[in-house]
């Protein structure tokens, strides 16, 4: 029965993926129950932009639940279309992970019903960064300048949606960027006027690149603000764990622990939703 449901799961995932994806042969999926005592395996997308913050939150959640955590360096490096991501997530959640940190919690969630999202532990905004000192808001930037957006992000969604509502002459031309370092370089060399990116990415840029000190955040106006709620994924079969994690997140949000972690990492935003 369990084997059948695993196969069903694989079929479910393979129904909406593109052509070069492998799918998951059933042999790859473990038919075992993990016996980990008081330790939970916590996995991360290695390329996740908020990876260090997510690990700190995972440790705080585990402490609150009197659990040990085993940090599992997860996967990463997927195509922009997400080809293969759900395959690998399926494999990870079946074989290895009790909890997968750092996922976007939204009504548009792409995850299967086989997984359950916890409540968000933080909500963090997208920002607009420029190098030109004369601009205070997005609306100050001439329409003939090009902009960059973090491809496939909720910030880009907000920008495109606003843009499609404007007459063509009132729109900025934007280019999608998948590499935030390259996008920052193009702002700094004035190829593009501004970039829309997740604030933790800007924090990372400022920490990693001395020349990023010239980047500063301006007001989104007239584009509506966008933010991402960040949570974790657990197996739908493990309702008990989800309930415990949700309670821990509530407590950590209420007692200021998560706000402290946001501040530690230089992130804007707020604990919880």
């Amino acid at each position: 029965m369990f084997r059948s449901s695993l196969v069903g799961l694989a079929l479910l995932f393979s129904s909406a993926v593109s052509a070069q994806t492998s799918g998951i042969p059933p042999e790859e999926l473990n038919n075992t129950r993990r016996l980990a005592g008081d330790t939970i395996n916590v996995c991360f997308d290695r390329t996740s932009l908020g990876r260090p913050f997510d690990e700190d939150v995972a440790r705080a959640v585990a402490d609150a639940l009197f659990l040990q955590i085993n940090v599992v360096e997860g996967f990463g490096g997927f195509p922009l279309n997400g080809d293969g991501f759900l395959d690998e997530l399926n494999l990870a959640m079946t074989n290895t992970c009790d909890m997968f940190m750092g996922v976007a919690v939204s009504s548009n969630s792409p995850f299967s019903d086989a997984f359950a999202l916890t409540r968000p532990y933080a909500t963090i905004p997208f920002v607009i960064a420029v190098a030109d000192p004369t601009w205070q808001r997005l609306g100050d930037i001439p329409k003939d300048r090009r902009l960059g957006t973090a491809m496939a992000s909720l910030g880009e969604l907000s920008f495109i949606t606003w843009s499609q509502q404007q007459p063509e002459a009132e729109r900025w031309v934007r280019y999608p960027y998948a590499d935030y370092n390259k996008m920052a370089t193009r702002v700094l060399d004035n190829t593009i006027a501004a970039m829309v990116l997740w604030q933790p990415v800007l924090a990372r840029l400022k920490a990693e690149r001395p020349d990023a000190a010239a980047l500063r955040v301006i007001s989104n106006d007239p584009v509506p603000a966008a933010s991402v709620s960040v949570g974790a994924l657990v197996s739908s079969r493990n309702a008990f764990l989800r309930s415990q994690v949700d309670q821990a997140i509530d407590a950590l949000a209420a007692d200021g622990t998560i706000d402290t972690l946001l501040e530690k990492h230089g992130y804007q935003g707020a604990a919880g939703e």
Partner: protein
């Protein structure tokens, strides 16, 4: 994920320990006869020397011992389990009595083609598989669809973007070459073509962030591995029309254009023909290309093998917004009509299943023919200009359209075959649609994947059979339906046409079938252990003709199995090859 990666690493390290760090060879094939350039140009009828049998990619064997009269007597000669679980896309080759099989994770096996005995096995050892290479790990689970033979060597391309050259006799590595940086995301998913003393190969992974602006077809010296030229499928400074087609999007913001089916080759003109895949991101709303046609995505490219220069291109689907890739097999066909020789390129290049005929010397459009249900292409002008339904292009994020064929075909990697006996092109197809909507559904917060959402594959309205074997009557002026064979299960294997008047192919219901090329009548069928996969082929040894049928895990089956729930799929992969031959008396 980690366990999967760890498993790969364990396999690799186990092989390393067990074989003491030397080549992973268990035996030697003494006196192996080299594959000469002359053989590649004119393959012996009894052998199968490359991906689709010959440079023309026809998937045709002139062998005729197995024919309409004898096929009923086929008996199992031997079978062989593949080395690893994975999606079954293997294209076995046979030369000098040796069968060369590539399986997933870039394992190559040499088998005695008469007895099925293992001669040697090569396991490609990845030095380390970083967690950030998950796409490569995912791709490694596909049986890469071809390897190549040249002189006394076996040439393969790997998931870590290497060309690896093995000694055909013992499987030892002769040399290897890191072609591009796999840390950027590049990965080989199809095998090479050997032509004019060069290894012609094409890279995948061109939709990964790090590979922005470059997707390539390469030529390397077959003896030294030196790179001779590369052609970028999404950036051609020599063609202003190509640059303009991206609507001002800079090269560093372009993705896609992956050539993920091994190309064909015309020795007479020293030209290689490759099909190119979709643009990235899928939706023009997100990629920023406006109404640009985004060349050379979804095109056929004709490249001069000597120089790498583009001779011509033809775009089968401009302005793709639905991942309707067009990289599939390009078949070279010569037909003499009224004393005039016509040199054509025929193909069902894309997932939408439309067949095209082109003049292969000029790229001039000759004809097209729809096969399965599709709703994107609204018409094709006599000059070959393709028109699309712009109403299916989403104008807002989240705007959803029902698009036929689906993202997994229609047509997919499963190659059709052309028979010069009947002037017919046999194409395995699946009737399927799905919804498509551009979306920004982040997986991990703030991360850049997941720009289009596809609904599940469903049958088009009014159609109850997923599978379609379409025989097309081909000539220089048109293609007409010769016959159709429809079936509830989807087609899952490539197709083989033979001089015995037969065409072989298989489906998700584990059925390998032989059809009469002329009539479409089923003349033989057997049910095996798993969906039929890969590339069925045939060869002869000591006057006996063999038929090879790959079976195993099939994404083409599982992704539409809900359309035929009465045919349950096996829960194991069962990746294998089954080798049939006729009893002595029949030969």
């Amino acid at each position: 994920m980690r366990t999967g990666l760890l498993k790969t690493l364990l396999v690799a390290s186990t092989a390393f320990v067990a074989l003491s760090g030397v080549a992973h060879a268990q035996g030697i094939r003494e006196n192996y006869a080299p594959v000469t350039p002359e053989m590649l140009a004119n393959p012996p009828a009894e052998e199968w020397l490359m991906f689709r049998g010959a440079y023309n990619n026809q998937g045709f064997s002139p062998l005729d011992m197995i024919n309409k009269d004898t096929v009923g007597g086929l008996q199992l000669a031997w079978a062989w389990p593949m080395a690893e679980a994975g999606i079954q896309e293997t294209a076995p080759l046979v030369h000098d009595g040796v069968m060369f099989l590539q399986t997933n994770n870039n394992i190559v096996e040499a088998l005695d083609a008469k007895t099925g005995d293992l001669i040697w096995q090569y396991r490609h050892v990845l030095p380390e598989l970083p967690a950030s290479w998950s796409y490569q790990a995912n791709q490694a689970r596909r049986q890469k669809n071809s390897i190549a033979l040249y002189e006394d060597k076996v040439i393969l391309t790997t998931v870590d973007a290497k060309i690896v050259v093995l000694n055909a006799a013992d499987g030892k590595v002769a040399w290897e070459k890191q072609v591009v940086d796999s840390n950027l995301g590049y990965s080989y998913t199809v095998g090479p073509l050997i032509a004019d003393g060069k290894i012609i190969s094409a890279i995948s992974g061109c939709s990964i962030a790090g590979t922005a602006g470059g997707c390539f077809i390469f030529a390397h010296d077959v003896n030294t591995g030196d790179e001779l030229w590369r052609f970028n499928t999404i950036d051609d400074p020599n063609n202003p029309a190509q640059e303009a087609s991206w609507g001002g999007v800079p090269v560093e913001n372009r993705w896609g254009g992956t050539p993920w089916t091994t190309g064909s080759y015309d020795p007479e003109t020293n030209t290689t023909f490759w099909g190119i895949g979709m643009p990235g991101p899928y939706s023009e709303l997100i990629r920023g290309s406006g109404d640009g046609t985004v060349l050379y995505t979804n095109s056929t490219l004709a490249l001069d093998v000597g120089t790498g220069k583009l001779k011509w291109y033809y775009q089968h689907l401009p302005r793709d917004n639905w991942d309707l890739d067009s990289p599939f097999e390009r078949i070279l066909v010569d037909q003499e009509v009224d004393g005039q020789m016509h040199k054509m390129l025929v193909s069902v290049p894309g997932k939408n299943g439309i067949a095209f005929g082109l003049d292969r010397d000029t790229g001039k459009y000759l004809w097209s023919k729809e096969t399965i249900v599709q709703n994107v292409v609204t018409g094709i002008d006599p000059d070959g200009t393709v028109h699309i339904d712009e109403g299916l292009i989403s104008k807002a994020v989240g705007e959803e359209h029902l698009v036929c064929a689906s993202v997994s075909g229609g047509k997919l990697w499963q190659a059709g075959a052309y028979s010069p006996q009947t002037n017919a092109y046999f194409v395995p197809l699946t009737e399927a649609c799905n919804t498509v909507s551009p979306t920004q559904s982040e997986f991990t917060a703030g991360n850049a994947v997941g720009s289009v959402k596809f609904g599940p594959r469903v049958l088009p309205e009014g159609i109850t059979d997923a599978g379609l074997m379409q025989a097309l009557d081909i000539n220089p002026t048109q293609a007409e339906s010769k016959w159709q064979f429809r079936s509830r299960p989807s087609m899952t294997s490539s197709v083989l046409a033979t001089g015995g008047g037969l065409v072989f192919g298989g489906d998700a219901a584990r059925q390998i079938t032989a059809w009469d090329q002329e009539t479409g009548d089923v003349v033989w069928s057997q049910r095996l252990n798993a969906p039929i996969g890969g590339y069925p082929m045939t060869y002869a040894i000591d006057g006996e003709q063999y038929l090879v049928v790959p079976t195993g895990y099939s994404n083409a089956a599982s992704s539409i199995s809900s359309a035929f729930p009465e045919i349950p799929l096996p829960t194991g992969s069962g990746n294998s090859i089954f080798v049939y031959k006729l009893p002595k008396a029949s030969n």
